[in-house]
Symmetry: C3
Amino acid sequence: MLQNTEFDAVVQEIAENYRGNREICYNCMDRHFPNRGAIIGIIKDLRRVLFPRYFGDDGVTNARPEYFIGCELDHLQDELRSQVREALLFEDPIWVAAELNERTNQVVDAFLKKLPEIQRILLTDVQAAFDGDPAAQSKEEIIFSYPGFFAVFVYRLAHELYLQKVPLIPRIMSEYAHDHSGVDINPGADIDEYFFIDHATGVVIGETTKIGKHVKIYQGVTLGALSTRAGQGLRGVKRHPTIEDNVTIYSNASVLGGETVIGEGSIIAGSIFVTSSVPPYSRVSAEAQKLLIRQGSEPTSPGAFEEV
Amino acid sequence: MLQNTEFDAVVQEIAENYRGNREICYNCMDRHFPNRGAIIGIIKDLRRVLFPRYFGDDGVTNARPEYFIGCELDHLQDELRSQVREALLFEDPIWVAAELNERTNQVVDAFLKKLPEIQRILLTDVQAAFDGDPAAQSKEEIIFSYPGFFAVFVYRLAHELYLQKVPLIPRIMSEYAHDHSGVDINPGADIDEYFFIDHATGVVIGETTKIGKHVKIYQGVTLGALSTRAGQGLRGVKRHPTIEDNVTIYSNASVLGGETVIGEGSIIAGSIFVTSSVPPYSRVSAEAQKLLIRQGSEPTSPGAFEEV
Amino acid sequence: MLQNTEFDAVVQEIAENYRGNREICYNCMDRHFPNRGAIIGIIKDLRRVLFPRYFGDDGVTNARPEYFIGCELDHLQDELRSQVREALLFEDPIWVAAELNERTNQVVDAFLKKLPEIQRILLTDVQAAFDGDPAAQSKEEIIFSYPGFFAVFVYRLAHELYLQKVPLIPRIMSEYAHDHSGVDINPGADIDEYFFIDHATGVVIGETTKIGKHVKIYQGVTLGALSTRAGQGLRGVKRHPTIEDNVTIYSNASVLGGETVIGEGSIIAGSIFVTSSVPPYSRVSAEAQKLLIRQGSEPTSPGAFEEV
């Protein structure tokens, strides 16, 4: 085991790292941080309110649902208010108390007022998934278990807070969904109703993407930026594509660039790259890949075949 | 903060959404739903029974394992029975009680009887992973930590319930595995023994896929359907490929279509698209991509290179 | 419900599987296994020590951080010691007690001494993510929520234990990170500072990969092996590429092979395959894919367009 002096040295070095880095800043009384666990709790509470029979422990009841909803929302708004306050103080620690309260209330009130509309739009997303997936046996199955739907559910919440310019919280929310769905939708993306992501894993939708109604995308699709070597120099610029109504994008296709517009009703084939606009009702595919098929006399001999 | 009347309006609108949508249906005494948390608990219990030293809190003991197994299975069958009952009632709320009990028992009994065989097949999957992965240091490492093995474990359970036509539960199970492995195996797929998925993330295996023995696939492989714009019109049709014995499919390849058969012993190269059948012992690759290599005078100048 | 004799038969068969398979081996008093839950607990504790304001419940305080760090590390080293001991005994059950203690202490002491340096390097990874991602609004957002950063955090811990040849634990750690980030970094990989993985999902970095400073990679990138049909025959051989300083690899590109070196300052375009070395400051892309764009008269007719 480490000698006491060696152990002390380790402790001391970590403490020095704390002192030397504003990101860590253990003793900074002036720094505020939202609580990641509390934010995840808010997501779960919102899921219980919007889809009570699926994620709640609420028994079936004859009582008016208003009791349940009112009680849940009342609790939830307190939690959200306190996290939003921390997030605003994280960004700027010198708020005047009264102004901070007013700004917090603005954010939370706007969010609450938007909830019924978000719920309505989520029901259109469920419909789109049911209509689009022959393996779906019921709409309930989608709400219970489709990761694409979960990612869109969290996105629609996070997007409202992004619009209100709340720091940190939208991204914490979207990365929670990313963890549990494999879908990375930046909360800044602008996505209309009836949206369906099938199979989910590996989908990336960038911050300045715009997506119309009735759009369907598959696993591995990237709606991304062209070169981003400019890094922070590109903040705020439209770097991601626009996808118009009724577009389908098949698995592992990439559509890139802030000026790229996929016209309405278009279909993008799987595994292709699109970096310029296509007119409405286009069907975009690549020239058929020429496949080489050899017959192997010793089909499993080690090293005889390369991965490429 | 919201005025009382504003808050009431939000509550009211959400309640209206409840009332107007059968999927939500807060007050419907006639609707039954399985419990997602309980189903995940059943998966974890089954993992403890089949691989007790890995996922249990069970200490080492000299007692006969029959005590442990019998006790666990007895508890587990009750849990499963109650979830299956709810799932059957979800699909059809007007079961006659005696018939519902009989059907529930049929399902659960068949499932229990299949468990020893599932365990045996899972051990072949462990063997396949060990034989196929030079980075594997022991079979135990695979059981403990390989996400591809976890996905196959859950698939083999869910598939039995799918065969018994249990609604909702198989998909809830497979999406739980999807969340924790990045592998989306539809419970309807038919997968034989010695199956290995290396690196796991991004694999999609569709509902009507058929896979033989000793098949090995890598991350990002899609065994999928051709155009699915027909949506629900395609339910029940074979839309996904057949992969015969001893086939290897490298990373990010896609094999698509219900009539596509990959003959036994074939090797499919990475990142290619296969949409028609290939005979046994084929080695399928694409013409080498012509790479363009330029030398950059200012290698990191922003925007000088596009992502495509 | 199953008859007693049928139930007994199931129990009996599972018990036989236990008896016949060393991997399961329920009654083996001589076999040791680390505890997966305890190992995940150690990861979480380490995260609290290295980034206390983010993942801890620790309130802001004026007390010297040494108290917090010393207390946490003292607890954590006991936990780690007991898991390392189990892992060493798993590999070889006939350790002499004194030698086992000495080896365990060597491992844990070396790990503890490395922690301040790991923390320092992680802060360079945060800086790289902030500099490289125009959507990042603060460094704190990265620590809180970026899955690529979480994967690199766990990798840097697991790698130290891998270097000390601890069995099982490094892989359990890396697969925990894989689960929560979609990034599969084998603990054997050798990755220098200022490393950034954007969007994370689907990245695979093989065991013998070597990565320099200031390297940036995107979602879906594979740094992999060529044919691995030789399986266990390839253990210990360098099978994965070397990526030099200041290289950028865009989304879904694959760089394969143990002799492949990507020279410093190079840029690899998205979705391409690289299986041979490229000199420094290369910009590697593929010939533009020829896209076919047809106009659809009936744009949404089912089956009119194939996924390929």
